[in-house]
Symmetry: C2
Subunit: 197 residues, 2 copies
Protein backbone atom coordinates (compact mmCIF):
# COMPACT_ATOMS: atom_id res chain seq x y z
CA UNK A 1 0.00 0.00 0.00
CA UNK A 2 1.77 3.03 -1.37
CA UNK A 3 0.50 5.61 1.16
CA UNK A 4 1.64 3.44 4.07
CA UNK A 5 5.06 2.78 2.55
CA UNK A 6 5.58 6.50 2.01
CA UNK A 7 4.63 7.16 5.62
CA UNK A 8 7.08 4.51 6.85
CA UNK A 9 9.86 6.03 4.72
CA UNK A 10 9.18 9.58 5.89
CA UNK A 11 8.40 8.95 9.58
CA UNK A 12 9.58 5.46 10.55
CA UNK A 13 12.76 5.22 12.61
CA UNK A 14 15.04 2.23 12.20
CA UNK A 15 16.39 1.48 15.68
CA UNK A 16 18.27 -1.68 14.70
CA UNK A 17 18.31 -4.39 12.02
CA UNK A 18 15.23 -5.81 13.78
CA UNK A 19 13.27 -2.85 15.11
CA UNK A 20 11.29 -0.23 13.20
CA UNK A 21 9.60 2.41 15.31
CA UNK A 22 6.41 3.94 13.92
CA UNK A 23 5.25 5.78 17.01
CA UNK A 24 4.31 8.90 15.06
CA UNK A 25 1.36 7.34 13.18
CA UNK A 26 0.53 3.86 14.51
CA UNK A 27 1.90 2.82 17.92
CA UNK A 28 1.57 5.93 20.05
CA UNK A 29 0.39 8.85 17.95
CA UNK A 30 -2.20 7.68 15.43
CA UNK A 31 -2.92 9.18 12.01
CA UNK A 32 -6.70 8.79 11.62
CA UNK A 33 -6.68 9.53 7.87
CA UNK A 34 -4.11 6.79 7.27
CA UNK A 35 -6.07 4.39 9.51
CA UNK A 36 -9.18 5.10 7.43
CA UNK A 37 -7.33 4.24 4.21
CA UNK A 38 -5.94 1.10 5.87
CA UNK A 39 -9.46 0.10 6.89
CA UNK A 40 -10.69 0.51 3.30
CA UNK A 41 -7.77 -1.55 1.98
CA UNK A 42 -8.40 -4.45 4.37
CA UNK A 43 -12.11 -4.35 3.46
CA UNK A 44 -11.19 -4.56 -0.24
CA UNK A 45 -8.69 -7.39 0.17
CA UNK A 46 -10.97 -9.56 2.31
CA UNK A 47 -14.24 -8.63 0.59
CA UNK A 48 -14.92 -12.19 -0.59
CA UNK A 49 -14.20 -14.02 2.67
CA UNK A 50 -17.64 -13.63 4.24
CA UNK A 51 -16.07 -12.12 7.37
CA UNK A 52 -18.49 -11.75 10.31
CA UNK A 53 -16.07 -10.50 12.98
CA UNK A 54 -12.67 -8.87 13.36
CA UNK A 55 -10.37 -9.89 16.20
CA UNK A 56 -7.35 -7.80 17.21
CA UNK A 57 -5.05 -7.18 20.18
CA UNK A 58 -4.90 -4.07 22.35
CA UNK A 59 -3.69 -1.40 21.94
CA UNK A 60 -2.12 -0.74 18.54
CA UNK A 61 -4.38 -3.12 16.64
CA UNK A 62 -7.53 -1.28 17.63
CA UNK A 63 -7.41 1.71 15.26
CA UNK A 64 -6.82 -0.25 12.02
CA UNK A 65 -9.27 -2.96 13.14
CA UNK A 66 -12.10 -0.53 13.91
CA UNK A 67 -11.65 1.23 10.57
CA UNK A 68 -11.73 -2.15 8.78
CA UNK A 69 -14.83 -3.08 10.80
CA UNK A 70 -16.52 0.12 9.69
CA UNK A 71 -16.00 -0.64 5.99
CA UNK A 72 -16.77 -4.36 6.38
CA UNK A 73 -19.80 -3.66 8.57
CA UNK A 74 -18.78 -6.15 11.27
CA UNK A 75 -18.00 -5.85 15.00
CA UNK A 76 -14.45 -5.80 16.32
CA UNK A 77 -13.27 -7.62 19.45
CA UNK A 78 -9.95 -6.74 21.00
CA UNK A 79 -8.06 -9.24 23.13
CA UNK A 80 -6.90 -7.84 26.45
CA UNK A 81 -3.38 -8.36 27.71
CA UNK A 82 -4.35 -8.98 31.30
CA UNK A 83 -7.50 -9.86 33.13
CA UNK A 84 -9.75 -7.05 34.26
CA UNK A 85 -11.69 -7.32 37.51
CA UNK A 86 -14.91 -6.35 35.76
CA UNK A 87 -14.41 -8.89 32.97
CA UNK A 88 -15.96 -11.81 34.82
CA UNK A 89 -17.14 -13.97 31.93
CA UNK A 90 -15.53 -17.14 30.76
CA UNK A 91 -12.34 -16.27 28.95
CA UNK A 92 -10.62 -17.77 25.95
CA UNK A 93 -6.89 -17.28 26.52
CA UNK A 94 -3.46 -17.79 25.00
CA UNK A 95 0.10 -16.94 25.95
CA UNK A 96 1.98 -14.49 23.72
CA UNK A 97 5.68 -13.68 23.95
CA UNK A 98 6.90 -10.37 22.56
CA UNK A 99 10.58 -10.51 21.59
CA UNK A 100 10.66 -6.72 21.10
CA UNK A 101 9.39 -6.03 24.60
CA UNK A 102 10.89 -9.19 26.10
CA UNK A 103 7.74 -10.07 28.00
CA UNK A 104 5.03 -12.71 27.94
CA UNK A 105 1.39 -11.72 28.20
CA UNK A 106 -1.71 -13.75 28.72
CA UNK A 107 -4.18 -12.47 26.12
CA UNK A 108 -7.91 -13.09 26.56
CA UNK A 109 -11.27 -12.66 24.88
CA UNK A 110 -14.63 -13.30 26.52
CA UNK A 111 -16.28 -16.34 24.95
CA UNK A 112 -19.46 -14.24 24.62
CA UNK A 113 -18.05 -12.42 21.63
CA UNK A 114 -16.93 -15.31 19.49
CA UNK A 115 -19.38 -17.82 18.08
CA UNK A 116 -18.66 -21.08 16.28
CA UNK A 117 -20.41 -19.68 13.20
CA UNK A 118 -18.08 -16.67 13.02
CA UNK A 119 -15.74 -16.20 10.08
CA UNK A 120 -12.96 -14.18 11.62
CA UNK A 121 -10.46 -11.70 10.21
CA UNK A 122 -7.48 -11.32 12.57
CA UNK A 123 -5.89 -7.85 12.32
CA UNK A 124 -2.67 -6.70 13.95
CA UNK A 125 -0.27 -3.77 13.61
CA UNK A 126 2.99 -5.72 13.20
CA UNK A 127 3.89 -9.22 12.11
CA UNK A 128 7.37 -10.33 13.15
CA UNK A 129 7.72 -13.82 14.63
CA UNK A 130 3.98 -14.36 14.48
CA UNK A 131 3.51 -14.82 18.22
CA UNK A 132 0.63 -12.35 18.59
CA UNK A 133 -1.18 -13.55 15.46
CA UNK A 134 -0.79 -17.20 16.52
CA UNK A 135 -2.16 -16.33 19.97
CA UNK A 136 -5.21 -14.68 18.41
CA UNK A 137 -5.67 -17.66 16.07
CA UNK A 138 -5.52 -20.03 19.06
CA UNK A 139 -8.23 -18.03 20.85
CA UNK A 140 -10.47 -18.03 17.76
CA UNK A 141 -10.03 -21.80 17.45
CA UNK A 142 -10.99 -22.33 21.11
CA UNK A 143 -14.34 -20.70 20.32
CA UNK A 144 -14.96 -23.06 17.40
CA UNK A 145 -14.95 -20.13 14.93
CA UNK A 146 -12.92 -20.12 11.71
CA UNK A 147 -10.03 -17.79 10.86
CA UNK A 148 -10.66 -16.70 7.26
CA UNK A 149 -7.80 -14.26 6.97
CA UNK A 150 -5.02 -12.39 8.72
CA UNK A 151 -4.55 -8.69 7.94
CA UNK A 152 -1.29 -7.05 8.99
CA UNK A 153 -0.36 -3.38 8.75
CA UNK A 154 3.44 -3.84 8.69
CA UNK A 155 5.10 -7.19 8.05
CA UNK A 156 8.77 -7.69 8.81
CA UNK A 157 9.18 -10.27 6.05
CA UNK A 158 12.76 -11.08 7.11
CA UNK A 159 11.36 -12.66 10.27
CA UNK A 160 9.49 -15.97 10.33
CA UNK A 161 5.89 -14.99 11.16
CA UNK A 162 4.35 -14.60 7.69
CA UNK A 163 5.90 -17.82 6.41
CA UNK A 164 4.76 -19.73 9.49
CA UNK A 165 1.16 -18.49 9.16
CA UNK A 166 1.06 -19.33 5.45
CA UNK A 167 2.41 -22.83 6.18
CA UNK A 168 -0.54 -23.30 8.54
CA UNK A 169 -2.77 -22.48 5.56
CA UNK A 170 -3.83 -18.96 6.50
CA UNK A 171 -4.33 -16.21 3.97
CA UNK A 172 -2.09 -13.33 5.12
CA UNK A 173 -2.43 -9.84 3.64
CA UNK A 174 0.19 -7.34 4.80
CA UNK A 175 -0.15 -3.74 3.66
CA UNK A 176 3.59 -3.04 3.89
CA UNK A 177 6.18 -5.81 3.60
CA UNK A 178 9.67 -5.02 4.78
CA UNK A 179 12.50 -7.02 3.25
CA UNK A 180 15.25 -5.51 5.38
CA UNK A 181 16.11 -2.88 7.98
CA UNK A 182 19.87 -3.24 7.45
CA UNK A 183 22.14 -0.18 7.49
CA UNK A 184 19.41 1.95 9.02
CA UNK A 185 17.31 1.76 5.84
CA UNK A 186 13.84 0.40 5.17
CA UNK A 187 13.74 -1.84 2.09
CA UNK A 188 10.30 -3.01 0.98
CA UNK A 189 9.57 -6.20 -0.91
CA UNK A 190 9.03 -5.01 -4.46
CA UNK A 191 5.72 -6.49 -5.48
CA UNK A 192 4.88 -4.41 -8.53
CA UNK A 193 7.26 -2.77 -10.96
CA UNK A 194 7.12 0.97 -10.46
CA UNK A 195 6.26 0.72 -6.78
CA UNK A 196 8.56 1.88 -4.02
CA UNK A 197 11.37 -0.64 -3.56
Amino acid sequence: MRLLEEKIISEGRVLSDQVLKVDSFLNHQIDPFLMNEIGKEFALRFANEGITKIVTLESSGIAPAVMAGLYMNVPVVFARKRKSLTLTDDLLSASVHSFTKNETNEISISNKYLDEDDRVLVIDDFLANGQAALGLVEIVKQSGAKVNGIGIVIEKSFQQGAEKLKEFGFRVESLARIASLSNGEVQFINEKVGELV
Copy 2:
Protein backbone atom coordinates in the same frame (compact mmCIF):
# COMPACT_ATOMS: atom_id res chain seq x y z
CA MET B 1 -26.82 11.25 22.06
CA ARG B 2 -29.89 9.18 21.35
CA LEU B 3 -28.22 6.29 19.47
CA LEU B 4 -25.73 5.78 22.32
CA GLU B 5 -28.43 5.91 25.01
CA GLU B 6 -30.48 3.32 23.12
CA LYS B 7 -27.42 1.08 22.86
CA ILE B 8 -26.76 1.43 26.60
CA ILE B 9 -30.39 0.54 27.37
CA SER B 10 -30.42 -2.48 25.07
CA GLU B 11 -26.95 -3.90 25.73
CA GLY B 12 -25.52 -2.35 28.89
CA ARG B 13 -25.47 -4.52 32.01
CA VAL B 14 -25.86 -2.93 35.42
CA LEU B 15 -23.56 -4.90 37.74
CA SER B 16 -24.14 -2.70 40.79
CA ASP B 17 -25.25 0.83 41.75
CA GLN B 18 -21.81 1.96 40.60
CA VAL B 19 -20.84 -0.27 37.68
CA LEU B 20 -22.26 -0.35 34.17
CA LYS B 21 -20.71 -2.88 31.83
CA VAL B 22 -20.71 -2.03 28.12
CA ASP B 23 -18.38 -4.74 26.90
CA SER B 24 -20.55 -5.53 23.88
CA PHE B 25 -19.94 -2.26 22.04
CA LEU B 26 -17.20 -0.19 23.74
CA ASN B 27 -14.87 -1.90 26.22
CA HIS B 28 -14.17 -5.28 24.67
CA GLN B 29 -16.27 -5.77 21.57
CA ILE B 30 -16.48 -2.50 19.61
CA ASP B 31 -19.32 -1.35 17.36
CA PRO B 32 -17.54 0.53 14.55
CA PHE B 33 -20.73 2.17 13.23
CA LEU B 34 -21.53 3.58 16.68
CA MET B 35 -17.91 4.75 17.09
CA ASN B 36 -18.18 6.54 13.75
CA GLU B 37 -21.32 8.37 14.91
CA ILE B 38 -19.61 9.20 18.22
CA GLY B 39 -16.64 10.61 16.31
CA LYS B 40 -18.96 12.84 14.26
CA GLU B 41 -20.73 14.05 17.39
CA PHE B 42 -17.48 15.01 19.17
CA ALA B 43 -16.31 16.81 16.01
CA LEU B 44 -19.59 18.75 15.95
CA ARG B 45 -19.54 19.69 19.63
CA PHE B 46 -15.92 20.85 19.63
CA ALA B 47 -15.92 22.36 16.13
CA ASN B 48 -15.18 25.89 17.39
CA GLU B 49 -12.35 25.08 19.80
CA GLY B 50 -9.51 25.12 17.26
CA ILE B 51 -8.43 21.64 18.37
CA THR B 52 -5.03 20.54 17.00
CA LYS B 53 -4.66 17.21 18.78
CA ILE B 54 -6.70 14.56 20.58
CA VAL B 55 -5.30 12.82 23.66
CA THR B 56 -6.82 9.60 25.01
CA LEU B 57 -5.93 6.59 27.16
CA GLU B 58 -5.44 3.00 26.01
CA SER B 59 -7.35 0.86 25.29
CA SER B 60 -11.04 1.78 25.32
CA GLY B 61 -10.49 5.46 24.48
CA ILE B 62 -8.77 4.68 21.19
CA ALA B 63 -11.77 3.82 19.00
CA PRO B 64 -13.88 6.93 19.80
CA ALA B 65 -10.78 9.15 19.74
CA VAL B 66 -9.59 7.95 16.32
CA MET B 67 -13.07 8.45 14.83
CA ALA B 68 -13.19 11.98 16.30
CA GLY B 69 -9.70 12.61 14.92
CA LEU B 70 -10.85 11.53 11.48
CA TYR B 71 -13.71 14.05 11.44
CA MET B 72 -11.67 16.82 13.08
CA ASN B 73 -8.66 16.13 10.85
CA VAL B 74 -6.18 16.03 13.75
CA PRO B 75 -3.78 13.35 15.07
CA VAL B 76 -4.61 11.24 18.12
CA VAL B 77 -2.11 10.34 20.86
CA PHE B 78 -2.94 7.58 23.31
CA ALA B 79 -1.34 7.48 26.73
CA ARG B 80 0.12 4.12 27.63
CA LYS B 81 -0.53 2.49 30.97
CA ARG B 82 3.01 1.25 31.47
CA LYS B 83 6.33 1.94 29.95
CA SER B 84 7.35 0.03 26.88
CA LEU B 85 10.97 -0.95 26.30
CA THR B 86 10.93 0.51 22.79
CA LEU B 87 9.43 3.80 23.97
CA THR B 88 12.71 5.44 24.90
CA ASP B 89 11.85 9.13 24.54
CA ASP B 90 11.29 11.52 27.36
CA LEU B 91 7.94 10.78 28.90
CA LEU B 92 5.26 12.99 30.38
CA SER B 93 3.62 10.95 33.14
CA ALA B 94 0.85 10.93 35.73
CA SER B 95 -0.55 8.46 38.24
CA VAL B 96 -4.13 7.30 37.74
CA HIS B 97 -6.14 5.26 40.20
CA SER B 98 -9.06 3.20 38.91
CA PHE B 99 -11.65 2.54 41.61
CA THR B 100 -13.46 0.05 39.36
CA LYS B 101 -10.36 -2.05 38.82
CA ASN B 102 -8.80 -1.16 42.18
CA GLU B 103 -5.38 -0.49 40.70
CA THR B 104 -3.08 2.46 40.11
CA ASN B 105 -1.36 2.90 36.77
CA GLU B 106 1.38 5.19 35.65
CA ILE B 107 0.17 6.69 32.36
CA SER B 108 2.64 8.24 29.93
CA ILE B 109 2.91 10.12 26.66
CA SER B 110 6.15 10.86 24.81
CA ASN B 111 6.87 14.60 24.90
CA LYS B 112 7.50 14.41 21.12
CA TYR B 113 3.76 14.29 20.45
CA LEU B 114 2.58 17.25 22.50
CA ASP B 115 3.66 20.77 21.71
CA GLU B 116 3.07 23.94 23.73
CA ASP B 117 1.07 25.34 20.80
CA ASP B 118 -1.34 22.40 20.83
CA ARG B 119 -5.00 22.91 21.66
CA VAL B 120 -5.98 19.52 23.03
CA LEU B 121 -9.25 17.63 23.19
CA VAL B 122 -9.09 14.91 25.85
CA ILE B 123 -11.34 11.95 25.02
CA ASP B 124 -12.16 8.99 27.24
CA ASP B 125 -14.70 6.19 27.33
CA PHE B 126 -15.99 6.65 30.89
CA LEU B 127 -16.04 9.52 33.37
CA ALA B 128 -16.63 8.45 36.98
CA ASN B 129 -14.38 10.02 39.62
CA GLY B 130 -12.38 11.86 36.99
CA GLN B 131 -9.06 10.19 37.79
CA ALA B 132 -8.21 9.22 34.21
CA ALA B 133 -9.26 12.57 32.73
CA LEU B 134 -7.31 14.46 35.40
CA GLY B 135 -4.24 12.34 34.70
CA LEU B 136 -4.50 13.15 30.99
CA VAL B 137 -5.00 16.85 31.78
CA GLU B 138 -1.89 16.77 33.99
CA ILE B 139 0.18 15.27 31.16
CA VAL B 140 -1.07 17.87 28.67
CA LYS B 141 -0.17 20.64 31.12
CA GLN B 142 3.35 19.25 31.58
CA SER B 143 3.87 19.73 27.83
CA GLY B 144 2.76 23.36 28.02
CA ALA B 145 -0.21 22.68 25.72
CA LYS B 146 -3.76 23.78 26.52
CA VAL B 147 -6.76 21.55 27.21
CA ASN B 148 -9.63 23.06 25.22
CA GLY B 149 -12.20 20.43 25.96
CA ILE B 150 -12.95 17.03 27.45
CA GLY B 151 -15.13 14.62 25.49
CA ILE B 152 -16.60 11.63 27.32
CA VAL B 153 -18.59 8.76 25.85
CA ILE B 154 -20.42 7.76 29.06
CA GLU B 155 -20.55 9.97 32.14
CA LYS B 156 -21.67 8.55 35.47
CA SER B 157 -23.08 11.87 36.62
CA PHE B 158 -23.81 10.55 40.13
CA GLN B 159 -20.06 10.39 40.72
CA GLN B 160 -17.85 13.44 41.19
CA GLY B 161 -15.71 13.55 38.04
CA ALA B 162 -17.76 15.84 35.79
CA GLU B 163 -18.38 18.36 38.56
CA LYS B 164 -14.70 18.38 39.51
CA LEU B 165 -13.56 18.97 35.91
CA LYS B 166 -16.09 21.77 35.42
CA GLU B 167 -14.94 23.41 38.68
CA PHE B 168 -11.43 23.44 37.23
CA GLY B 169 -12.89 25.39 34.30
CA PHE B 170 -12.90 22.67 31.66
CA ARG B 171 -15.61 22.31 29.08
CA VAL B 172 -16.92 18.75 29.41
CA GLU B 173 -19.15 17.18 26.77
CA SER B 174 -20.52 13.74 27.63
CA LEU B 175 -22.53 11.90 24.99
CA ALA B 176 -24.53 9.89 27.55
CA ARG B 177 -25.07 11.14 31.10
CA ILE B 178 -26.23 8.60 33.64
CA ALA B 179 -28.14 9.92 36.64
CA SER B 180 -28.44 6.60 38.43
CA LEU B 181 -27.81 2.87 38.19
CA SER B 182 -30.03 2.05 41.19
CA ASN B 183 -32.26 -1.02 41.19
CA GLY B 184 -30.44 -2.47 38.21
CA GLU B 185 -31.78 0.28 35.92
CA VAL B 186 -30.04 2.91 33.85
CA GLN B 187 -31.56 6.39 34.33
CA PHE B 188 -30.24 9.13 32.07
CA ILE B 189 -30.18 12.82 32.90
CA ASN B 190 -33.06 14.19 30.93
CA GLU B 191 -31.61 17.08 28.98
CA LYS B 192 -34.33 17.62 26.41
CA VAL B 193 -38.02 16.95 26.75
CA GLY B 194 -38.94 14.00 24.59
CA GLU B 195 -35.53 12.35 24.91
CA LEU B 196 -34.99 9.08 26.69
CA VAL B 197 -35.11 9.63 30.45
